[in-house]
């Protein structure tokens, strides 16, 4: 076993070494990239948009920045680490991400310039030295609400941000998840929905969620990113679930049930067998008495 395994292991490590060497060797970011001028001021709103795009395009290999869920097998770095942030400023990151190299695809034609910059701002927001302007969304200022359309079984969720003056304005690009209440926890249903510029998102309720006898079900809406938008939630009881047809198995006549619920075939065959034995005995006794009578 050992003599087969050893060379395999070494070749594997060798291939990995070559791969990592080649991957690392080719990242030569030109000096001008460092001095790239930012097209716009980075704002919190742009980083939010960037985050949504990051989740769609980058999360598979890199994971969310700072969470360490990056794919190390293909040398995809965690973009949130202080080490990465210190070595790449916004321009350098934009260059890497635009050009691509090895496993890292080029996003030159895949995303437009604005989107690419908002992703860049999102990634750079993990650098403490990177200045972001604008109003930061405070978690406690976000409210969630939904109304129902019974005919189409649709939920229309709205997310609003309440500013300092108490005026609420729609929150765009917020991810909302829907849950149904189950006995030990909340079961997520369907896909995550994202609010549009009016702060609303439409969710089609699936029609195979089990409810109680009357189809009653408790639906809960929550923000997906509770760090940014808080734990605000809204719940409602609807009768959109499937009706529960509970058949109490104990009331059926089964072999495993109690004595008074014995299956009829068993009861009948028992009575027939014991009955015929006793009848035979009675018949014999009767015949004996008849013999006695005849002898008299």
């Amino acid at each position: 076993m050992k003599h087969i395994l050893k060379p395999r292991k070494t070749t594997f490590i060798f291939i990995l070494l070559i791969l990592s060497f080649s991957v690392n060797a080719q990242w030569n970011i030109p000096d001008y990239a460092k001095n790239t001028k930012l097209p716009t001021e980075p704002t919190y709103k742009l980083t939010e948009t960037g985050k949504q795009l990051f989740i769609k395009n980058c999360i598979q290999c890199h994971g969310l920045p700072g969470e360490g869920k990056n794919n190390t097998a293909i040398n995809a770095p965690d973009l949130g680490t202080a080490d990465y942030q210190s070595k790449h400023n916004a321009g350098q990151f934009y260059y890497q991400f635009n050009e691509g190299m090895g496993f890292m695809p080029s996003f030159k034609d895949k995303l437009n310039k604005d989107d690419k910059w908002s992703i860049t701002f999102y990634v750079k927001s993990f650098d403490k030295g990177f200045k972001i302007t604008g109003e930061k969304i405070k978690a406690e200022n976000c409210v969630i609400d939904f109304k129902t359309e019974d005919s189409a079984r649709t939920l229309i969720a709205t997310a609003n941000i309440i500013d300092k003056n108490g005026i609420s304005k729609p929150a765009e690009g917020v991810e909302i998840n829907f849950f149904v209440k189950r006995i030990f926890g909340n079961l997520p249903i369907g896909e995550t929905v994202i609010t549009d510029q009016n702060g609303t998102a439409v969710f089609k309720f699936p029609d195979n969620i089990p409810g109680d006898e009357n189809g009653k079900i408790k639906i809960i809406a929550k923000f997906k990113d509770s760090d940014a938008y808080g734990t605000a939630m809204k719940s409602a009881e609807l009768n959109w679930g499937t009706h529960l047809h509970f058949v109490n198995p104990v009331l059926e006549r089964t072999l495993w049930g109690p004595n008074n619920r014995v299956p009829l075939w068993l009861l009948l065959s028992f009575l027939i067998v014991t009955g015929s034995v006793w009848l035979t005995i009675f018949y014999v006794v009767f015949q004996i008495t008849q013999i006695k009578k005849a002898g008299k």
Binding site: R182, I183, F184, L187, P188, P210, F246, V250, W256
Partner: protein, 319 residues
């Protein structure tokens, strides 16, 4: 009538005294009832006294007048017996065990033994070391009662001590059990144990009211088994073993709701999808017992198999 009246007149003195006695007695009785009622109503409406904070059902802190609170006494044994026999309506309890996550931490075993007054060598749930044929990898397998839908054990009980409830649980009544151990012989999963000796801390549990949903106090000479912690399910809590697991091995839930919740991570998932995605199986399906415990295969291990420093079961057996 007439004769009776005259008779009464004749013995006037005697009958009056008897009547008076009855009257007095009646009055006294009514007085006590009325008094108790008045006191009770005063009790219920006395407001403005001490207010205390209580945890509401939705997790909010509520301020309640002390006089409005009622102490809920412990359930009587008769109550526990009837409720324990019928089960919780509308529920079908289900357990899923993910073998890829078990590393023999045995926290489930400890929590179970603690709750059900068991000795260290008595198991309602045990973690077994398993090995298949040939070059397969050994793994750990927690094995509770399978709470079969067609249980062989209840079929053989001569005294109706072990029974199946509407919510799918198979329980045993130690007060009724005569210790014949037919059920132990009938169970293909060896899920049942017998109290050969006095149970653990028998003195301590001496005066505890018997709860059929907890099998406590245990009784010498009777059979005991895993109950899916029926006492906790009544309070809408997950079983002792499920919440005790540090590695997320156990999923527990209601089949009617088609959802199971992980005892460690508290994540709730679609029950049927979980079984489908992970190629779940049941133990000894060929017997037709229809178990309510599902196993997810021992793949994508979180921890490599290791027991007493050895990573192979076979070597241990050969030595």
């Amino acid at each position: 009538m007439k004769s009776k009246n005259t008779h009464a007149e004749k013995n006037n003195k005697k009958s009056t005294s008897r009547r008076n006695f009855l009257k007095k007695g009646l009055l006294a009785g009514a007085g006590t009832v009325l008094g108790a009622g008045v006191v009770g109503s005063f009790d219920a409406f006395a407001e403005g006294g001490d207010s205390i904070k209580v945890l509401g059902p939705d997790g909010k802190i509520l301020t309640v007048d002390k006089s409005h609170l009622k102490e809920i006494g412990a359930r009587t044994e008769a109550q526990m017996q009837t409720e324990g026999r019928t089960g919780i309506p509308g529920r079908r309890w289900i357990k899923v065990i993910d073998l890829g996550k078990c590393r023999n931490a045995r926290m489930c075993v400890a929590a179970c033994q603690h709750a059900h007054q068991l000795k260290p060598e008595q198991y309602h749930v045990n973690v077994l070391r398993m090995d298949r044929e040939g070059e397969t990898a050994p793994f750990f397998m927690p094995k509770p009662c399978q709470h079969c839908d067609d249980p062989p054990c209840t079929k053989v009980c001569p005294v109706d001590a072990t029974f199946k409830r509407q919510d799918g649980l198979v329980l045993i009544d130690n007060e009724r059990c005569i210790g014949c151990r037919f059920c132990i012989a009938a169970c293909p999963y060896s899920a049942r144990i017998f109290n050969w000796t006095e149970p653990r801390d028998a003195e301590k549990y001496k005066d505890v009211e018997y709860d059929v949903e907890l099998n406590v106090p245990q009784k010498k000479g009777t059979v005991s088994k895993c109950l899916f912690s029926a006492d906790l399910l009544r309070e809408e809590k997950m079983p002792y073993c499920v919440t005790a697991c540090p590695n997320g091995v156990y999923w527990f839930g209601d089949e009617n709701e088609n959802a199971v919740t992980n005892g460690t991570t508290k994540e709730t998932v679609n029950f049927k999808k979980l079984l489908k995605d992970n190629a779940a199986y049941v133990l000894l399906p060929e017997l037709g017992t229809k178990p309510r415990v599902y196993y997810l295969p021992e793949k994508n291990r979180l921890f490599p198999y290791k027991y007493n420093g050895s990573t192979e079961l076979k070597k241990e057996h050969n030595s």
